[in-house]
């Protein structure tokens, strides 16, 4: 399921690295990296926690786009 995200840009705006981002939302650095690469889609809870860090909406950070085939 393609879930695009702007996590890296948002992270850069508030100047936190992946380790710090992970600590803020309670996940490992590796998971933040996987989310940014699009290799892992976060749960609703995690997506809400991430959005809260940036004081933004989930839809601003994560985008769901239909597959070309669908």
């Amino acid at each position: 399921m393609p879930l695009y995200n702007h996590l890296k840009e948002y992270r850069a705006k508030i100047n936190v690295n992946q380790q710090e981002m992970g600590a803020l939302v309670g996940v490992s650095r590796q998971t933040i990296s996987q989310i940014e690469r699009g290799d892992y889609s976060p749960s609703v809870t995690l997506a809400l926690k991430i959005a809260r860090v940036f004081d933004s909406k989930v839809e601003d950070i994560f985008e769901y786009q239909e597959d070309q085939d669908e």
Partner: protein, 263 residues
């Protein structure tokens, strides 16, 4: 709506039934062919001239097996550990590729120790059997017995310390990880310290392991039946396989039922 669902279910079953019956027929003939081939091999003496000598050689050398595993494990894990430690010193805490490489190599180290542990138990059993069967031979010289026991105790020490070093180095790379290798609840604590993505990997890997165990049990059951027919291996292998097979399936089903009740 129910009738359309039932129609769809029947249609899907009908579609796959032909393939299933073909597989059953192929397995029937395949099993017959395999049994016949082994019977022919037994009649022309391949079992006695090839298979039994190989098993005998394995038993004879099993006395030294654990010593060899101890050395191989020690050397390979040391190399991996020192390599990852070197990478950790140079790591800038940001480079994803280096982070992935370090974790991958430590995982290989853990895989080596796991394989070594399982093989050490196998060699221990085989070694005990060999020394009991040829007790007179081993009474005359202490060296094989000494190598056997040093090997077995040594490999367990090497495995334990290797796993401890690898886990502790992983905890340095990933500080959120919790649990000491010497804690009896280590696996539980480690899993609790994993986040949702890591838990998803654990669960998917566990399911793959479960499927592999079921396939292995089926294959080993076939081998155990052939063993009864041609190698006089007795009923014990079949009983052991049945216990493992039953354990895996019942655990899976009971856990699924409990989780469904909770949700």
């Amino acid at each position: 709506m129910n009738s359309s669902i039932q129609t769809e279910i029947k249609r899907e079953d009908k579609k796959k039934l032909k393939g299933f019956i073909l597989i059953l027929i192929a397995s029937f003939f395949g099993g017959g062919f395999l049994g016949g081939a082994i019977a022919i091999c037994d009649n022309i003496g391949i079992v006695d001239t090839v298979v039994k000598p190989v098993l005998e050689a394995f038993l004879r050398w099993s006395v030294y097996g654990n010593f060899a595993i101890m050395v191989i494990t020690l050397v390979s894990v040391c190399m991996i550990y020192m390599n990852v430690k070197g990478m950790l010193k140079e790591w800038d805490q940001e480079d994803d590729i280096v982070f992935s490489k370090m974790n991958y190599r430590l995982s290989i180290g853990l895989l080596i120790t796991t394989i070594a542990q399982i093989l050490s138990f196998c060699f221990f059993s085989a070694g005990i059997l060999e020394m009991e069967r040829n007790a007179d031979l081993y009474k005359n010289t202490m060296i094989p017995g000494a190598i056997f026991w040093i090997g077995f105790i040594g490999v367990l020490i090497v495995i334990t310390i290797s796993q401890q070093k690898i886990v502790n180095l992983t905890k340095v790379i990933c500080p959120e990880k919790k649990g000491s290798i010497y804690d009896k609840d280590f696996q539980k604590k480690w899993l609790e310290s994993c986040d949702e993505a890591e838990k998803a990997i654990v669960y998917e890997s566990s399911y793959s392991a479960y499927k592999a165990v079921i396939k292995a049990c089926m294959t080993l059951w076939i081998i155990s039946v052939l063993g009864i027919m041609f190698f006089e291996s007795g009923i014990y292998p079949t009983i052991v396989i049945t216990v493992i097979w039953m354990c895996a399936n019942v655990t899976y089903c009971v856990k699924s039922m409990r989780m469904e009740k909770k949700h």
